[in-house]
């Protein structure tokens, strides 16, 4: 059973089909890079897989169950465009909040652990609104990894990250893949993504134009997939 399976997925805005008959799979330990032009449907697809929106037709299965299933949500992590932490709370309070929501046995300990891993332990009691941009991004990463999800869905995670945050995230993703996590990330930053990716899927106008393992040609020339399978 694949970790993430998308089967015949359609998603409509009114009568317009933003996603058409998407079929994808990602196994454990796989990292799928979702690429495509703006408006191709990457964010829509990711959010539908994450369960933020219901499919019009077709199914999404995470470990065989729908994404909104209670057990599935324990094992899933999502990083969108925002950092998803509260400005008015401290770093520690934010992580403890999510620790409690995810029913962790010792929220405080897990929170402290992740603050250390992302280099934020010295500002643990500082309010997020006083953080620098890089610190906010690292806290966002800590929040997503806090409950040790088996499936990570990341929407353009490397965009607007500073170098330190990119390094932290890449290291965490690499460790996660090694321990069997499944990662699906949409991206414009082909180079950073292709370093980690084991598979690549190209979305063109809501359809999957290419889906397969990462090849050396792709790493050498990230534009190769677009040129070969895309439409200009």
């Amino acid at each position: 059973m694949a970790a993430v399976a998308v089967d015949g997925l359609w998603r409509f805005y009114g009568d317009y089909a933003a996603l058409r008959d998407i079929r994808l799979e990602a196994g454990e330990g796989a990292c799928l890079a979702l690429i495509g032009r703006n408006g191709a449907g990457k964010t829509t697809l990711l959010r539908t897989i994450a369960g933020f929106a219901r499919p019009g037709k077709g199914e999404v299965r995470i470990f065989g169950k729908p994404p909104r299933d209670a057990q599935t949500r324990f094992r899933m992590g999502f990083i969108g465009h925002g950092i998803s932490v509260y400005d008015e709370l401290s770093a520690l309070e934010n992580l403890m909040l999510y620790g409690k929501l995810y029913d962790l046995p010792d929220p405080k300990r897990s929170a402290m652990e992740w603050l250390e891993r992302t280099g934020l332990e010295r500002v643990k009691d500082g309010l997020v609104r006083e953080f620098s941009r890089g610190m906010r991004q690292r806290l966002a990463v800590a929040r997503a990894f806090l409950h040790n999800p088996s499936v990570l869905l990341l929407d353009e995670p490397f965009t607007a990250l500073d170098d330190k945050a990119i390094a932290v995230l890449q290291s965490l993703l690499r460790d996660g893949l090694a321990s069997g996590k499944t990662i699906i990330m949409s991206t414009h930053q082909l180079r950073e993504a292709l370093e980690l990716a084991s598979h690549v899927a190209l979305l063109v106008r809501g359809k999957v134009a290419f889906h397969g393992p990462r090849t050396p040609e792709m790493v050498n020339d990230p534009g190769w997939v677009y040129a070969r399978y895309g439409e200009g």
Binding site: G51, F52, A70, F78, G82, S84, L89, Y98, L101
Partner: protein, 226 residues
């Protein structure tokens, strides 16, 4: 039970965030005072007639000031995309709704309890005659206001002109609850017990609260994941 813990976690989070900045509570309190001031120009504070309509005036103040707090309810999740994290967390939509509703309820009630003695002083109205019953009416009507305000805050969370839309949608639905609250408050302020016909108002308030709480708990998931 896990559900109770989740509800309390959400409620605590909302309260903590609000008490840090106190933006909404301060605005709400200030607004209440300003309305009370304006009423003193519109109605003669000394007259007996004002005392009779004080029940009605009070709930106008509470409805308007309360909306400032209720508006913030789901709006506070929009910066930084926190709503996404809450929706993908393994808590039922009902728990999220209930947690927020409880936090809102406590904040609106706090503003009301502060406004009440001030109103009493300004308009020479004796609120303390039947404190237990008055508190009961306050709780029932405020819960109705809170439930409707919270679910509609979710409905209007990312639309244009949210601050205008929320009152426009909320007040017509609240008409029966506000009428009940006004009637019961007026009766209590005049020193009379709630009896006879007025008991129907009490029952209606309770029914209103139960019905809309149930409807909100059922429909919140549809609103969050559409």
């Amino acid at each position: 039970m896990r559900l109770v813990r989740q509800v309390l976690t959400i409620a605590a989070k909302d309260l903590r965030a609000e008490l840090r900045t106190k933006e909404a509570i301060n605005a709400s309190l200030a607004f209440a005072l300003v309305i009370l001031l304006m009423f003193s120009f519109a109605f003669d504070p000394e007259a007996d007639t004002t005392r009779e309509i004080s029940g009605g005036l009070l709930w106008i103040v509470f409805a308007f000031a309360g909306t400032l707090i209720l508006n913030r309810s789901f709006a506070r999740e929009i910066p930084n995309d926190c709503l996404d994290a809450l929706i993908s967390a393994p808590i039922p939509g009902a728990a999220l709704f209930l947690g927020k509703a409880i936090a809102n309820f406590l904040m609106v009630l706090a503003v009301e309890l502060v406004s009440l003695p001030i109103f009493g002083i300004f308009y020479n109205v004796h609120w303390a005659q039947q404190p237990a019953q008055l508190f009961g009416v306050l709780v029932l009507a405020t819960w109705g206001l809170t439930v409707i305000g919270t679910i509609f805050s979710a409905l209007t969370v990312n639309i244009r002109l949210r601050e205008v839309m929320l009152p426009m949608l909320t007040y017509p639905i609240l008409v029966p609850a506000l009428m009940g609250a006004m009637r019961l408050t007026a009766v209590l302020v005049l020193g009379k017990p709630i009896a006879g016909d007025d008991l129907s108002w009490l029952k209606m308030l309770i029914g209103f609260d139960v019905m809309y709480t149930a409807a909100s708990l059922v429909l919140i998931e549809t609103v969050l994941v559409s």
